[in-house]
């Protein structure tokens, strides 16, 4: 990420210094490769110029090791520029480079042939081959085989089927709450509220990714001028607030009716690209459902009385297992250890969550020891670090990763 600006000079200097330290302790053979790699600018061969009809100009020769290509977009349009190895895998990428701008593209190269590919509205252009020869040093950037939208369609269809089932379960659970309220049985309504809330969490509508229709089902009072008393505060959390703040069955009954209608709307529109229909959102969901648990549940932010943070997180974990299972065949060749690591961490999170229960009953955070709470935070935090690369690993060329950006 070093740039051509003065601002980047100290970073370059630091890199060189770090390399020098390594060199002192390693064999002489390494020196040649490293020095060439870090001073590649001397030949001028690291400037890659994109024009309206060329991606990278004349064929180039590069050296193995660290290279920083200075990509100049001299065309009249925005481009996405990727550097591919002989297998077609990507080793470096500039997601967007505007016309008239220069952006650095760092890459660790091995001996072989590479190609720059330029994606724009006008199509895809490939450069002349870039031949890399010389003494090798360090380890090259592993090439990433980009997925296509088509490869994500199947997993996302599976996800939609799953989500539709969860929504049907949720619809039935809300009907049960209605019956509880009609019978003026608030104790049963509170218990059945938790079932419904967990059904919703299992849908996997993380980070408002189901848009306004999802907000209607599970929105928070945040952002409403009247807060919890605002007439536009509706849905499951509105019910939660009422059920745990002494409100009457007759007050809450109309809310369940609106909720049933809003769930039906969501079911009808589930395959909309604004809800669950965009396959390129699925990789984002793989980590954002549990990011949601951390942000909203374990922080206490979305607790309106039920104290259900651990139960909700466990339901989020179930949804994440489903989505990760659907994506695992795509992740495995790109990050061979990721799924196994995540599986173990998901088991650890499940254990940590279960340990917060008392006689099989979920407890509010205030009733759980700090040690048990820290175990949950630890397991979830470690898992989230593992899952964070999934959207990048499964990104589709020409579509900049946009997780959360569609809200």
């Amino acid at each position: 990420m070093a740039s051509s600006e003065p601002a980047s000079k100290p970073r370059t200097g630091r890199r060189r210094w770090a390399v020098a330290t390594v060199v002192l302790g390693v064999a002489l053979a390494l020196v040649v490769g490293v020095v060439v790699g870090t001073t590649g600018t001397h030949s001028g061969s690291d400037v890659v110029t994109v024009t309206d009809d060329q991606c990278g100009g004349d064929s180039q020769v590069a050296h193995p090791g660290r290279q920083i290509f200075s990509v100049v977009n001299a065309s009249h349009h925005a481009d996405e520029v990727m550097l591919a190895d002989a297998s077609g895998g990507t080793v470096a990428e500039i997601a967007v480079i505007g016309p008239g701008t220069t952006v650095d593209m760092p890459a660790d190269l091995a001996n072989g042939t590479y190609t720059f590919n330029c994606f724009s509205d006008l199509g895809v252009m490939a450069s002349a081959p870039v031949r890399v020869t010389g003494a090798t040093s360090g380890s090259p950037t592993p090439a990433l085989q980009m997925v296509t939208v088509d490869t994500l369609v199947g997993p996302n269809d599976d996800y939609e089927t799953y989500a539709a089932q969860q929504l049907a379960t949720l619809g039935a659970a809300v009907t049960t709450i209605q019956q509880d309220l009609m019978a003026d049985n608030l104790t049963a309504a509170r218990s059945d509220w938790l079932s419904a809330e967990l059904d919703w969490e299992r849908v996997g509508a993380s980070y408002d990714s189901f848009g306004a229709e999802g907000e209607a089902v599970d929105g928070l009072p945040d952002g409403l001028p009247g807060g919890v008393d605002d007439p536009n505060f509706i849905g499951l959390h509105r019910l939660e607030y009422g059920l745990w703040h002494g409100q009457s069955a007759s007050t809450l009954l109309p809310i369940t009716k609106t909720l049933s209608a809003d769930i039906a709307t969501l079911q009808g529109n589930l395959d909309s690209t604004l809800i669950a229909g965009d396959p390129t959102n699925l990789p984002t969901r793989a980590h954002e459902i549990l990011e949601d648990s951390l942000r909203d549940h374990l922080s206490g932010i979305d607790d309106l009385g039920a104290g259900a943070a651990y139960a909700e997180t466990a339901a989020d974990l179930q949804a994440t297992r489903v989505i990760l299972g659907e994506l695992a065949p795509l992740i495995a060749p790109r990050a061979p250890t990721l799924v196994a690591t995540a599986d173990a961490q998901m088991d650890a999170l499940q254990s940590a969550l279960s340990a917060t229960q008392d006689n099989g009953q979920w407890q509010p955070a205030q009733q759980v020891s700090q040690a048990a709470h820290e175990q949950v935070n630890a397991a979830l935090g470690a898992l989230l670090e593992t899952l964070a690369p999934v959207p990048d690993l499964l990104q589709v060329p020409g579509i900049a990763a946009s997780g959360g950006g569609d809200s």
Binding site: M1, I97, Y207, L384
Partner: protein, 413 residues
């Protein structure tokens, strides 16, 4: 008892040492604490201090945001004063304390039968240390308790709740806001402690947050805690002055030369942010993370050309810089002056670092400027990573012009 004389001699000794070291310029320091404000004004300032007296208050364009002091405190108070007279007295006391603290010097000599007059946090002779005190009033100041309702600045309201806000009542609003900025955090701490000590009966703290400014990393505008340069497009010089100071005949006479101040306490979900790709981060801001250049430019201060990118292929239409400042003639008078700080508040229940941004901006019309810009930002992608939870709208009183003037004096004419 031996203690009081010992205490006295220690102080005298230290003070003598400081005065001696600083030379004649500081010789007035010993009598500064004596209540005469004329002496305070005559006191030495030197490098590291800003003029206390002026048409406008310091802490806005003095020093300008790009040179702002590295430590800050924003403290909102509710008035507990019983009458209009007590409010006037309160403002006079705040003026006296602020004038002294922003000027520096020695506090009154301690008496053997009294607790010490100063905390000594800054030693026996108080350095100005770049302290600026900025006093602003919330809309509730004008709610009728003190017969000042007809003096309320035209555009002053409680801060509205925006759809992406997560408001926490204990962190919102207030009758009076003190913004304290200085070169070091201990100076800020000393100042808020001093002002509170002298005003306990008439106002009580409602919320308080400390902020810190970052140096350039490695150059240009300082970075926020999301790692992006923040404030690059801030107006400067005459343009800033034209956008910030109230100069409107339809505003109350006392308010001319003041400014509307918006403070927004914005939590940043930094752990989540750090798990998001660089491409996505840069798309949300519209700038390169390393250089701060707009995505259609090559260096930080390049001007984005949105007309050349109508579909948002280079700088997304939802990018923060594009929504907040579309750089059109129609939006030119909506620009505002940001003077924000980073904050760290410990931890959240989920183990995350509780940190973020004390967003501070100044403008001559809070509706035309901040609210219009903030309305455009509703639903921007960045909102998944930030949570505005506190702050308020305030009106910065005009400056204290001389030793006979005090904050808001013309309110009481």
């Amino acid at each position: 008892m031996a203690f009081p004389p010992m205490h006295f001699s220690r102080r005298s000794l230290l003070k003598g040492a400081v005065v001696g070291a600083a030379g004649t310029a500081l010789t007035g320091g010993g009598i500064l604490g004596a209540a005469d404000p004329a002496d305070a004004e005559a006191a030495p300032t030197g490098v590291g201090s800003y003029p206390f007296h002026g048409t406008h208050q310091a802490g806005i364009l003095t020093p300008a945001p790009a040179q702002k002091q590295s430590a800050a405190c924003f403290a909102a108070f509710d008035l507990t004063a019983a009458s209009k007279g007590e409010v006037a007295e309160l403002l006079q006391t705040i003026t006296t304390r602020s004038r002294f603290l922003a000027t520096g010097g020695g506090p009154p000599e301690p008496a053997f039968d009294q607790p010490p007059p100063d905390s000594d946090v800054l030693g026996p002779v108080i350095p100005a240390d770049g302290l600026t005190v900025t006093v602003a009033l919330g809309s509730s100041f004008f709610d009728g308790r003190f017969g000042l309702a007809d003096k309320k600045p035209r555009h002053l309201t409680p801060m509205r709740v925006f759809p992406d806000d997560s408001p926490v009542p204990a962190w919102l609003h207030g009758d009076l806001l003190l913004q304290l900025c200085a070169n070091h955090p201990d100076t800020v701490h000393h100042a808020i402690r001093d002002v509170a000590k002298h005003t306990r009966g008439a106002m009580q703290p409602r919320w308080k947050i400390e902020g810190y400014a970052a140096p350039p990393r490695p150059s240009g505008t300082a970075r926020n805690l999301l790692g992006f340069k923040d404030g690059t497009a801030n107006p400067v010089g005459d343009l800033a002055a034209r956008l910030v100071w109230v100069n409107d005949p339809s505003e109350p006479a006392w308010a001319q030369g003041g400014s509307y101040q918006v403070v927004r306490l914005i939590r940043m979900l930094v752990e989540f942010w750090d798990r998001v790709s660089l491409t996505e981060q840069e798309g949300m801001f519209g700038r390169r993370k390393d250089s701060g250049a707009p995505l259609d430019g090559n260096s930080e201060f390049d001007t984005p050309n949105y007309a050349a990118d109508p579909e948002g292929e280079v700088i997304p239409l939802t990018a923060h810089i594009r929504l907040s400042n579309p750089r059109t003639p129609a939006t030119a008078d909506q620009r505002l002056l940001r003077r924000s700080y980073n904050y760290d508040l410990g931890l959240d229940a989920n183990g995350n670092i509780q940190a973020g941004h004390v967003f501070v901006c100044f403008q001559q019309d809070v509706h035309r400027q901040f609210e219009t810009v903030q309305t455009r930002l509703i639903g921007e992608p960045l909102i998944d990573y930030v949570q505005p939870f506190g702050g308020g709208y305030f009106f910065v009183a005009p400056g204290v012009v001389d030793t006979h003037d005090w904050y808001g004096r013309r309110l009481f004419l």
